[in-house]
């Protein structure tokens, strides 16, 4: 019997396939189907900092907007004692998912400032989250903000959240740090129990007729798996924290590769959006078949066998690879 189990954020998962945060995991039925299909854990859709802030702000604005300005209309909305739901639906979703499934359930928070959402982490813990995935999506545009400022922001947010909860916190990172290993070490010291590689920055498009920028969401392409592949290989020997690969996991082959470079789990997003839960057993079957064929006994055995330290060719993950790639093109 092949042992596909893995350890992620201090928890034992039955296999390394984790349903990543996406619209798919917003729906309870989808999550049930994913559990039935065999995923080892699930990360709920992201709750955005703006949703928390806007939930309060919009309601506040609505209540105050233009009130007490005119004798005949001192207000424009019924003065019911509304409790704005704000984050409550997310918490309810989390509770429902926890009740419905037996696999670990992680919540996902997405933001870039130390706003009220940091405090919200403890509410997620109380609602039953087994862990948190923290996605600090910060696009640095201000020349006055130094790289150190950006890094400090990550560290401070993580520290604040880590202090607020007892459950493990995984940090989802962008690939653009000058020294990712240094950053990962620092974040580990701030309490990161794991890293999710990587956050994809959706790049806007522009419309040449309307002269407006337009949001453009495209799912990852299969070749994009190479980015996390490299960096997981480099980080695996550097950090003790768990590593999750989250980009372009489409086939069992990517799962194998990512485990080999050191991933503890692989998150499925694009392929679930495209193919739904039925893709999960296919991936597991493929992984199992490959391991059997190559006489691996367990995922643990496979994990990290080709990381930056264990590989026979460390240069492949370094500058040398660049040279080789250029030369091979000719």
């Amino acid at each position: 019997m092949m042992d596909l189990s893995t350890e992620y954020l201090g928890m034992k998962l039955k296999n390394p396939l984790v349903a990543g945060p996406s619209p798919i995991t917003r729906d309870l039925d989808n999550i049930r189907a994913l559990e039935d299909a065999g995923v080892g854990a699930v990360v709920l859709n992201s709750l955005f900092e703006e949703e928390i802030a806007h939930g309060h702000g919009a309601h506040d604005h609505f209540l105050d907007h233009s009130t007490e300005s005119h004798a005949e209309s001192t207000s424009y909305a019924p003065a019911l004692d509304y409790t704005p739901v704000g984050t409550e639906p997310y918490l309810e979703h989390l509770r429902a998912v926890k009740q419905a499934v037996g696999i670990p359930v992680f919540a996902s928070l997405n933001g870039c400032t130390r706003g009220g959402w940091v405090e919200f982490a403890s509410e997620l813990e109380q609602a039953g989250a087994d862990g948190l995935e923290l996605n600090v999506y910060q696009v640095a545009t201000d020349p006055e903000v130094s790289p150190a400022d950006v890094e400090n922001n990550y560290a401070e947010i993580l520290s604040a959240v880590s202090k607020a909860v007892r459950i493990p916190v995984a940090m989802k990172l962008a690939p653009y740090f000058s020294s990712l290993p240094h950053m990962a070490k620092r974040l580990e010291e701030c309490g990161a129990a794991g890293f999710v590689l990587f956050n994809r920055f959706y790049q806007p498009d522009i419309d040449i007729d309307t002269l407006e920028a337009v949001p453009n969401l495209s799912l990852s392409a299969p070749h994009e798996v190479r980015l996390p592949l490299r960096w997981i290989a480099i980080l695996d020997p550097v950090v003790k924290a768990s590593l999750a690969a989250s980009t372009a996991v489409y086939t069992w082959a990517e799962v194998v590769k990512l485990l080999m470079v050191g991933a503890d789990v692989t998150q499925l997003c694009a392929t679930l959006l495209r193919n739904g839960a039925p893709v999960v057993p296919k991936l597991l079957e493929g992984l199992t078949a490959w391991m059997e064929e190559h006489e691996y006994e367990s995922v643990t055995q496979l994990q990290g066998c080709m990381n930056h330290r264990t590989t026979s060719d460390p240069g492949a993950f370094e500058r040398a690879n660049y040279l080789r790639a250029l030369q091979s093109y000719a």
């Binding site: 309060h56 001192t74 424009y76 019924p78 003065a79």
Partner: protein, 1201 residues
């Protein structure tokens, strides 16, 4: 359960008792009573039980007539039913009131008494309405304060059950309905102890019930009607005693003893005032003060006005009285005296005639009027009345509080007199509606009233503009009960929350010597004094005022609070007013913040806590110099170039000195000059649009969408540029029609409100920097002077000849002069661009009937009005009749014009020889269809007017009087959805059915905007509104298709923000149609909970989502064999949900009740899809099929000229 001390307003107090003692309420919103229905609806929605443990039901009806009918029906079937109303609303209830009383039905109507519209509408308080209903057979019980409202509402509900006489429980609109006062709240147990349950059972037993059937409401003949009418007498005879019995029961229970007539004052008073309502409280306070000074005066407070118990009245009146003055808060022109006066005179004469010997000598009785439309009635005026009574020949039928220099009825008084307690803290706050000043002050009253032993009172004055409205809060706090039912005239604390108001209003006029003055200003403490105008500096020095300053906007900005400076200014008030110890005050503010904002999240609480702390850090006492240092005086309120009436009268109103205007300054019949907004330069736009000619494509969309006609386009001869200011911008005009002309977009810098709709509408983008458009917002202050000069120059450029280009296009229409300008509508209003467009296209020949509502307020609320004239002196003539009758009112215009036209034609024929066939023939045959034809027709009529005086025949004078009716007229009937869909629908339907040539413009905001967001039948499925707190569960009425069903009505559904082209086309087609036309215009509104800057985008989303399909139905096409229905919008491309999520009226349900909201969203989507498909089916049918579907062509069209 012990009774709580609470601070609430009169409306809430009345609603509380009514709700607790009722099963059903049927209401219709009308100021100032709307709050009562809203409270009841809120409690019902929250599931709050009444004293029987069940939750009353509240329904909003289509009119007050409907509400009264529903109440009547509910009463007849055994319910304890109530309603809330005022003014015209009460008048609409009168027919049912006769019925309810005639059937001896226990019921209570709660009325916040308000002026009735006569020469003008007024939303403010007096007793005109209740007096108009006094003959209905209802009992009338008057409350004079918020506490009395709660108490006497209870007595009313208790007494009516026993008396079987229905009650109007009334109190003064605004003064009591909106005054916030600390009172002792009655508990449910108190109410249960007052309401005799056996009487409730008896009431139910009289209900219509098929198990025990009766017939009520028969028709009677002369043989018995009279006797039957007299059969009620015993009930009315018993009623006063029953009321007193309930007052006694209440007194024993609660400790406050009332009588039908309560006397207060010296037991041997020689002068006594008779009054009722809040005015009696001011008299009471003055009487106490004067008697303490050794005078012998008194007051009889009339509680039960009907049935008037003469005997008890005489008993209450001290027999020492030498002169009795009866004060009426109403006017009954032509009567021998006002109603209460007449009752008192009758009572005293009957007493005297029947041998009553209580008085040594029958007192002299005089009557006076006071306080109409919430006119100030204060202690000084009361003193004036008592002083008048000392004269040998006091004036009778006098007025007090105004200067009547026409019929000389006014009496004098010394304005400086005061009877207020010296220890009362009196604070006045000047702010803007948008800065949260009123909300903060209501919060302060709650803190002081409910957290300390102090008594507290608050009253709030708003100006009549919806954009940039100024608020003045009057707050009193003290150890003694507060009876001062009037504004503060001597304040110990004055706050000005907006530095700009210093320039416009004499805020320190009210400051007592030694007062504290708190100013929100960017100026630092050491230089703030120097920034003030000379007059203000002088007042500070003369009165020894202490000046404190804070830069609240800077603090708010740092804390991310935007423009909401409420918490900051509130903290400053507590910190320096001394009303509470500073630390205690801060602690209580923070507790209040936690209570108010706790549910909005910790972040909101924290930012407000930070605001408190930061306010204290940034509050400083400012240095005050010993002499005036400023070189600057306040600017005049209007230009010296303004007409005399504007300078002498309007300017006084603008300055807030309207109370001082004499009667002679007022037009006697309510007729005012037009075009006065142009003289009121409000400068409320902090940012205004600036034109970039290099980017402009000359589409004129910016001017089209401007709600305030503050950005304008002109195409003109180059020669006009002679003497142009150096900074005046112009470019060569584009387009064949405009070849050789120059083109300009010009902003009215002092009239622009800074809404940015023009920028949003601008399609042109700067090629080098696409964030910039051809119109960009920039701070007003740096360009104010130059743009003022440019705008003055622009206004002198002649309007482009209307016959020389196509006016009926988006671009062309904006070269036409707007004859509706600078209204007081909201910043970014969605209605006024349509109204302005009508004025541009047809204004010089338009006659407008305007339903009461937003459009009648921004269109006709003094001091200044926006309808104006062109260079020839022509322009729209405008009037507002009522809310409910506007369609009929407008039809009346058409009937009159058509008849006069017919008569003029008859006279033309008759006088043909004398006038000359050369002129008569073209006059009779002239039927203009374009601007050139209209001009020609005007020339013919001008010639006719020249010839007629030379003709001796009497009919020449008659023809002269109707000659203008030969001109083509454009009759417009305008109003909101509350009018068109609800209260005025019956009339609108009839007018459309009449086939007459009228144009109806429905400004559809899908909610009652003017009265504060109540549901109408135009409110969409899923939208939250007052009376639809859980989201409206049924679709909005398809008014357009109901009119289409007639077949002969031109109907268009438009949304300027989606298709301005279709919009302009619809107006031109509708007006040209010789029959009834109906335009339903989507109007984004502040009540939607949207960013008004994005209003046009919301309009577009409404169309793109299928919520608001655009179409035109033109019956003329049927005659041409074409399908009259043209669907102008494409199939929905946006999910309805996306549109709904973008507006808080929908989104708040998605946030608060997600499951219900989701269900309503689904239903709304289905309905929208089906509606579009149905419209598409109609539009796809060929002309013949269309006739079958819609009935088009079945009726003849148009009988108008």
């Amino acid at each position: 359960m012990p009774r709580q001390k609470i601070t609430i307003e009169g409306n809430e107090a009345a609603a509380y008792v009514a709700y607790q003692c009722s099963d059903n309420a049927a209401i219709y919103p009308i100021t100032p009573s709307s709050g009562m229905g809203e409270w009841a609806d809120q409690w019902s929605a929250e599931g709050k039980p009444n004293i029987w443990g069940t939750v009353p039901h509240v329904i909003e009806m289509q009119s007050e007539g409907g509400a009264a009918g529903a109440v009547h029906g509910a009463l007849q079937t055994g319910a304890l039913a109530t309603t809330f109303t005022a003014s015209q609303g009460l008048l609409l209830m009168i027919p049912n009131m006769y019925k309810i009383a005639g059937e001896l039905t226990a019921a209570v109507f709660h009325v916040s008494a308000r002026a009735i519209a006569t020469h003008a509408l007024s939303i403010f308080g007096d007793h005109s309405d209740v007096m108009a209903a006094r003959s209905t057979g209802f009992a009338f019980l008057a409350a004079g304060s918020v506490q009395e409202v709660m108490d006497l509402a209870t007595v009313s509900h208790a007494a009516t059950l026993k008396a079987r006489v229905p009650f109007v429980h009334f109190f003064d609109g605004f003064r009591t309905s909106h005054e916030v006062l600390k009172i002792e709240a009655l508990t449910q147990d108190d109410l249960r102890a007052m309401i005799d349950n056996d009487l409730v059972l008896a009431h139910r037993a009289r209900a219509m019930n098929p198990e025990n059937p009766v017939v009520r409401g028969t028709a009677q003949n002369p043989d018995v009607f009279f006797q039957a009418r007299e059969a009620v007498n015993p009930y009315y005879d018993a009623c006063p005693g029953i009321v007193q019995e309930m007052m006694d029961r209440f007194g024993k229970l609660v400790g406050r003893q009332y009588h039908l007539f309560d006397y207060v004052g010296h037991p041997e008073a020689d002068r006594v005032i008779i009054a009722m309502g809040s005015g009696a409280e001011a008299v009471h306070e003055t009487v106490d003060h004067l008697n303490a000074g050794g005078e012998k005066v008194g007051l009889v407070k009339v509680r039960l006005y009907r049935p008037f118990d003469s005997e008890r009245f005489i008993t209450a009146l001290p027999k020492s009285a030498r002169v009795v003055t009866v004060l009426d808060r109403t006017k009954e022109p032509g009567a021998t005296g006002e109603p209460l006066y007449q009752d008192v005179v009758t009572a005293m004469m009957e007493h005297h005639a029947s041998g009553g010997n209580g008085f040594a000598k029958l007192p002299r009785v005089i009557g006076g009027r006071y306080g109409l439309s919430s006119k100030e009635f204060n202690a000084a005026m009361v003193k004036g009345v008592f002083d008048e009574m000392t004269k040998d020949a006091p004036k009778n039928h006098f007025v007090v509080g105004i200067n009547d220099d026409v019929t000389n009825n006014s009496i004098d008084y010394a304005p400086g007199f005061t009877s207020e307690d010296d220890d009362t803290v009196r604070a006045v706050f000047f702010g803007l509606g948008s800065d949260g000043t009123v909300g903060a002050n209501k919060n302060s009253i709650k803190i002081i009233g409910e957290e300390t032993d102090n008594y507290a009172q608050g009253y709030f004055v708003y100006d009549s503009k919806k954009a940039g409205s100024v608020t003045v809060s009057h707050l009193r706090f003290g150890k003694k009960p507060i009876r001062s039912s009037y504004l503060i005239h001597k304040a110990s604390f004055v706050a000005c929350h907006q530095a700009a108001l210093i320039e416009q209003i004499d805020v320190l006029d009210l400051a007592d010597p030694g007062a504290i003055f708190l100013l929100n200003t960017h100026a630092a403490a050491d230089s703030a004094f120097d920034t003030l105008p000379r007059e203000v500096q002088q007042q500070i020095i003369d009165k020894g005022i202490k000046l404190y300053v804070i830069d609240a906007y800077k603090v708010a900005g740092e804390l991310g609070l935007g423009a909401r400076i409420n918490t900051i200014m509130q903290t400053c008030f507590f910190a320096i007013s001394g009303v509470l110890p500073r630390d205690e005050a801060i602690e209580k503010i923070k507790a209040a913040i936690q209570k108010t904002y706790g549910k909005k999240g910790e972040a909101v609480v924290k930012s407000n806590f930070a605001a408190v702390d930061k306010a204290l850090e940034n509050l400083h006492e400012a240095a005050v110099g010993g002499s005036v240092t400023s070189q600057r005086c306040r600017a005049a309120h209007v230009s010296q170039d303004a007409p005399e009436f504007v300078r002498n009268v309007t300017a006084e109103m603008i300055a807030g000195r309207g109370d001082g205007l004499p009667v002679s300054s007022m037009p006697a019949d309510g007729t005012f000059p037009t075009g006065t907004t142009k003289w009121e330069k409000r400068n409320i736009g902090l940012d205004i649009p600036v034109w970039d000619p290099g980017t402009c494509i000359q589409c004129n969309k910016c001017a089209l969408v401007c709600p305030h006609a503050a950005i304008r386009a002109s195409a003109f001869e180059p020669a006009s540029l002679e003497n142009a200011p150096a900074t005046f911008k112009s470019i060569d005009a584009r387009g064949g029609e405009y070849k050789g002309l120059k083109f300009t977009i010009q902003v009215a810098p002092e009239d622009c409100t800074g809404c940015s709709l023009c920028v949003e509408a601008c399609p042109a983008k700067n090629k080098k920097e696409v964030r910039l458009k051809a119109i960009n917002m920039a701070p007003q202050a740096p360009v104010r002077d130059t743009e003022r000069e440019n705008y003055a120059f622009f206004l002198d450029i002649p309007e482009l000849d209307r016959t020389a280009h196509k006016i009926g296009s988006v671009k062309g229409s904006q070269f036409a002069l707007p004859l509706f300008e600078y209204s007081g509508a909201c910043v970014g209003c969605g209605e006024t661009p349509y109204v302005k467009l009508v004025s541009q296209l047809f204004g010089d020949r338009a006659i407008i009937g305007n339903a009461t509502g937003c459009s009648s307020i921004y269109g006709g609320n003094l001091p200044t009005t926006p309808w104006t004239t062109n260079a020839d002196g022509r322009g729209p003539t405008w009037s507002n009749s009522l809310f409910e009758d506007n369609a009929e009112f407008g039809l009346g215009f058409r009937l009159s014009l058509d008849k006069q036209n017919e008569y003029a034609r008859e006279l033309l024929e008759k006088l043909s020889a004398e006038i000359g066939p050369d002129l008569v023939r073209p006059l009779l045959e002239c039927k203009p269809t374009d601007e050139a034809g209209i001009r020609t027709q005007r020339q013919f009529v001008a010639q006719l007017k020249e010839r007629l005086p030379k003709i001796g025949a009497p009919d020449a004078a008659n023809l002269m009087s109707v000659a203008d009716s030969l001109l083509k007229r454009s009759v417009w009937i305008m109003g909101g959805d509350g009018w068109a869909y609800d209260i005025g629908y019956g009339g609108l339907d009839h007018v459309l059915a009449s086939g007459r040539n009228v144009n109806v413009l429905v400004l559809d905001t899908e909610v009652y905007s003017n009265t504060g967001g109540q549901m109408s039948k135009a409110t969409p499925l899923g939208a939250v509104a007052k009376f639809a707190a859980a989201g409206k569960a049924v679709q909005k009425k398809d008014l357009g298709m109901m009119a289409v069903a007639y077949g002969h009505v031109y109907v268009a559904q438009i949304a300027m923000g989606s298709s301005d082209n279709q919009c302009v086309k619809a107006f031109v087609e509708a007006e040209s149609y010789d029959g009834p036309s109906l335009i339903i215009a989507y109007s984004h509104c502040i009540a939607h909970g949207i960013n008004m800057r994005k209003g046009l985008s919301h309009q577009k989303a409404a169309v793109d989502s299928g919520h608001w399909p655009l179409y035109r139905f033109d019956p003329r096409r049927t005659l041409a064999g074409e399908n009259p229905m043209q669907l102008d919008s494409k199939p929905p491309k946006l999910p309805l949900r996306t549109y709904m999520e973008s507006e808080n009226r929908f989104a708040m349900l998605l946030k608060s009740q997600p499951q219900r909201a989701e269900a309503l969203v689904r239903q709304a989507q289905q309905a929208a899809t089906a509606r579009y498909q149905e419209y598409a089916r109609l539009a796809a049918a060929d002309g013949n099929e269309q006739k079958k579907d819609t009935g088009a062509g079945r009726q003849t069209v148009g009988t108008g000229a």
